[in-house]
Subunit: 208 residues, 4 copies
């Protein structure tokens, strides 16, 4: 089976630059999941066939709630899902639970970040579509989770039944291979691709 590939744009690129990045990624594969800012979803959905995830959504229902990002909004703009609980955007557990429920109501998939096994197991009970395991110390760093914590990936694999991806510091095809061998269904990258001068080439390298 092919690995699930997730590219988190974070706020490295926005507007036209984000669209350009998305187009470069699309050339590598239409099945790639891109995590984009709420403000870029509609345009990237219109101009590419990538699978688009919002980087966050709030749990509110349509109505008041000035300034929040609601599931309905990103869904209508063309998002297939949303990230939740990224280490840079942690949610208190009752909020995470409520938000996953709200996403299910509007058929928005959820990809929830976890930083350790205990948390991952707690999140699993909320039945998100995917779990991404990212040890926080490795986020935006140069050491990959595959190299630094293969033990953790294996443990997650044994203990978690829903599909999980690994993130944090994935930079080389060896990192990718190790992650998949240890039981991950895919992997997430961010700066390695989003900040690359040649994202197409960088991504190709990772997938070789």
């Amino acid at each position: 089976m092919k690995p699930i590939i997730v590219i988190n744009f974070k706020t490295y690129k926005q507007g036209k630059a984000a669209v350009k990045l998305a187009k470069a990624i699309e050339k590598v594969g239409k099945n790639i999941i891109v995590g984009v800012q709420a403000s870029d979803i509609e345009e990237i959905a219109r101009k590419t066939k990538l699978k688009i995830y919002s980087q966050h959504v709030d749990y509110f229902k349509p109505g008041r709630h000035t300034g929040y990002i609601i599931p309905e909004a990103v869904k209508k703009d063309g998002a297939e899902g949303s990230f939740l609980n990224h280490s840079e955007h942690k949610l208190k557990f009752p909020i995470l639970a409520r938000t996953i429920k709200r996403c299910k109501q509007v058929n928005l998939k959820t990809m929830v970040f976890a930083s350790e096994l205990k948390q991952a197991k707690k999140i699993e009970k909320l039945k998100p579509n995917y779990l991404i395991f990212e040890p926080p110390e490795l986020v935006a760093g140069k050491i990959s989770v595959s190299k630094a914590r293969p033990d953790l990936i294996k443990k997650i694999s044994k203990n978690i039944k829903i599909k999980f991806l690994v993130g944090a510091g994935i930079h080389s095809k060896e990192d990718v291979k190790t992650a998949l061998k240890l039981g991950a269904s895919g992997f997430a990258v961010s700066s390695a691709v989003a900040k690359s001068r040649n994202p197409y080439k960088k991504l190709k390298e990772l997938l070789r």
Copy 2:
């Protein structure tokens, strides 16, 4: 001088419905300020000539910060400014101060909500472009600030030097007239227009 008109879309409408609402408003006047969800800015900027404000922005700089809405993002999408500190999205003061600074760096105007005079004076020192005065008890209600608290509008007018608008419960042309007579430079509405079956007609009525 013509009053400044602000229409806060909140999350009443999103995607195509928000665009449709914006087009109806545009027929009344291109100078109207619409406060739209981050996810709708780019499309409304592309399809109308309205002045667009984001309903909120975070203070972060481009880089990491997964899931936040940064000033650069909404600016590039075509926003002229951003609301900040709406009663439904209050910011702690040090965060508000930092966010206004960041908006200035990218030439994004700021329209900051205040609920009482003391707070308004504190916010004035941060030099936002506009202040909107909205007594929280009247937000989304049926009694207008013009009717319920003319005293407060007058007091604000005497004590605040930057341009201020009034919001909360504006439903009739009398409400509008009173507000302007008492010293406001304009007014903000939300549900009265955003939830109306005929927003064009409703807005026309308010401006007669």
Copy 3:
């Protein structure tokens, strides 16, 4: 039936000054509920027989959670209950729901603040022990809720089945009488007593 009296110390006084305030209140009546800072609960519980409420608790269980105030901690210090969702300390609804549950687990009563009827009815379903109705515009102001919004008190009374108190701007015995006549089981004051030079006398006046 005797009215329930609540005095919110906020952060007007702390340490010895808070204890002194509590002792003055105790002379008026031991059944008065005082809302004190977490740091003052143990001492006031030791030195008075007042009913003590924490001004806030977090929903976490004993364990990690550095820097949070947990139900067990205030209970062991002698608190009978906790305020929740004060207008100066609003909680997102899923957090409020979780916190009320946690308080019930440790037999800590809950007194939950609401600012309008719709919210009050939503909170009622969580079955707190008391509801306090405080229109935010009147908090720390000079106009009492009894005078400014008798209509709202009556409406709350008709629509809410659990015991409710009214707060915000109660300064005179007339305010108190009106509130009780309209259906409230009691009232909450803060600055009127906590900032008074002679809190004993001030409280006596309110209760005459």
Copy 4:
């Protein structure tokens, strides 16, 4: 020079149990810093001569602010300082800056947690009294920072001029020795002592 020892009680123990823990620690040394819950400060200050730090304080000034923990309150209860920005209680940077300022105003020392060098350098500019370096992945874990990341301790030592301690997973005297040798002025422990059946003995072991 003697190492600075910090013991974070977190919410493992409260009330009488926290006092008992503090007394056991006092037998090992009066200069030990204990990080206690706001609700336990006054009692532990009264019953021991330990150096007491609050686990958190908010930046608000005395006045309203129902339910917050203000610097004045913990100072008056006998605290010498406060932790800030623990990995379980992270503060946005503008809030951290404001809180350190407020603590200085009331002569409350600050011990600020950092999880990586870049952040530590940013925090150093705010001039807290101490910095505690705790890689988040090791918090409450079984691997010590001394063993897992000696490189990081050394790097911190080279780049940070204010006194810094190391935390996270310190369990043995070897961990302690390594940390001090690499340039740390002290170390912080939590569960190893706070959850121990014999905290006196455990602490003695660490210091042998």
